[in-house]
């Protein structure tokens, strides 16, 4: 049954790759997400909700220091177990800018991380628009260029790193349990591989009698 031996080697290789993928979720990612959360609270949370995420849940998952959390709660006027709701009224913002700001908890699922990254870098000044800016990826977008001051302050390279952190944070909000998923997968694949060994041997044992 050499096909099965080949199959098992493919499985072992796949297991190795998935293990590598899992362990590469290192401390760096969490630091990036923490920083992204900070950026979000300062620049995005006045208009955009993360209504499926609670402050205490975020603080716990990203190891946000208590003083930072208090700072966020204070400026939003909320309690720790409240969901992260935008400070400004959506209807009011819609009137000012032309469209209500969407909730961003799942935005990474609706658009890929790459798309979001490009989008945030694609703003440019446009005097013809009421907000004063436009976007290469979404023409005549209603959203103003909220990060322009940060961009000018930091310059291109550093700004890109900031945007990457913000995207990394939104990657977290869409699926807080991602690392659990990877580990369960590895364990179950290992179990299945172990399971298949006696099954293959037993199969060979029976089918030896059939010509």
């Amino acid at each position: 049954m050499k096909h099965l031996r080949h199959l098992l080697s493919i499985v072992v290789i796949a297991l190795g790759i998935s293990l590598a993928q899992t362990t590469s979720a290192t401390v760096n990612d969490q630091a990036s997400q923490q920083h992204g959360a900070d950026l979000y609270m300062h620049y995005c949370s006045s208009c955009h909700s993360l209504k499926y995420l609670r402050y205490d849940q975020m603080a716990h998952d990203l190891d946000i220091p208590p003083d930072k959390l208090t700072e966020y709660l204070k400026s939003a006027g909320r309690k720790a177990d409240d969901p992260i709701i935008a400070q400004l009224d959506a209807a009011m913002v819609a009137k000012a800018y032309g469209a209500p700001p969407p909730d961003l908890t799942l935005i990474i699922m609706a658009h890929s991380p790459d798309w979001l990254y490009q989008y945030l870098l694609a703003f440019y000044p446009d005097p013809m628009r009421p907000s004063g800016s436009n976007n290469h990826m979404v023409s005549n977008v209603a959203m103003p260029d909220v990060l322009s001051a940060l961009h000018q302050q930091l310059g291109d390279a550093a700004f890109k790193a900031q945007v990457a952190d913000l995207v990394s944070f939104l990657n977290y909000t869409a699926e807080p349990e991602r690392h659990t998923r990877y580990w369960y997968g590895v364990i179950i694949l290992i179990f299945l591989t172990i399971f298949l060994i006696p099954v293959i041997l037993l199969h060979q044992d029976y089918w030896r009698d059939v010509e």
């Binding site: 177990d81 006696p198 044992d205 030896r208």
Partner: protein, 200 residues
């Protein structure tokens, strides 16, 4: 792996393999049922735990009871008169658990009054038998027996409790009514656990 030669070896090898496959299959099925079982556990995160409820009791008259809705359960709050408080001691020999040993209450309610302040009773209005809501019967009514000094009467199966929520012998209910955690500052009642760092 030439075990073909001896049929006995082959048979015992086959049996070993069968048992191994069976064992691993059972483990696998058990493992697969874990997420199903877990998914039925209470979704604590979604429900705000112990959301404190504040109530001003200034308008509560003596002898009057109000019912608050706390965590989906009715909570009775009664301003007891001195006369009512005097009925508590004589009841003792007819009660199943006069010293509140078996029932659920915070430490500050483990006394004869089952309360922080004797004049304010706070008790969960859920009969400890099968969870009906007992009626408030402060009057010395004839239909509840000649010894009735006032208390609660559960219409579902006839359990009787005194004016401190303690259950009478002969009632189907096994224990006294539960006292929830609460704070009382002047006339302001707050139901629920205090936040960490707050004074109990």
């Amino acid at each position: 792996m030439c075990s073909d030669s001896d049929p006995d070896t082959r048979l015992s090898r086959r049996r070993l393999l069968i048992h191994t496959v069976e064992a691993l299959s059972i483990i696998g099925l058990a493992g697969a049922s874990i997420p199903l079982l877990r998914a039925c556990s209470p979704q604590g995160v979604a429900v705000k735990k112990n959301a404190p409820l504040k109530q001003d009791l200034s308008a509560l008259d003596v002898g009057q009871m109000i019912t608050l809705n706390w965590q989906g359960k009715p909570v009775f709050v009664i301003r007891r008169s001195d006369a009512m408080l005097k009925t508590l001691a004589p009841n003792a020999n007819q009660l199943r658990d006069p010293l509140s040993v078996e029932s659920k209450q915070p430490d500050y309610a483990k006394n004869i009054y089952r309360a922080r302040d004797p004049h304010i009773l706070v008790v969960v209005g859920v009969c400890t038998h099968l969870s009906c809501t007992p009626s408030y019967r402060p009057d010395q009514a004839g239909d509840l027996g000649p010894d009735w000094r006032g208390g609660f009467f559960c219409p579902c199966h006839g359990s009787r409790f005194d004016l401190a929520g303690r259950v009478f012998q002969g009632s189907p209910a096994p224990t006294n009514l539960t006292v929830p955690p609460y704070q009382l500052v002047g006339n302001i009642l707050t139901l629920g656990e205090p936040n960490p760092g707050e004074h109990t």
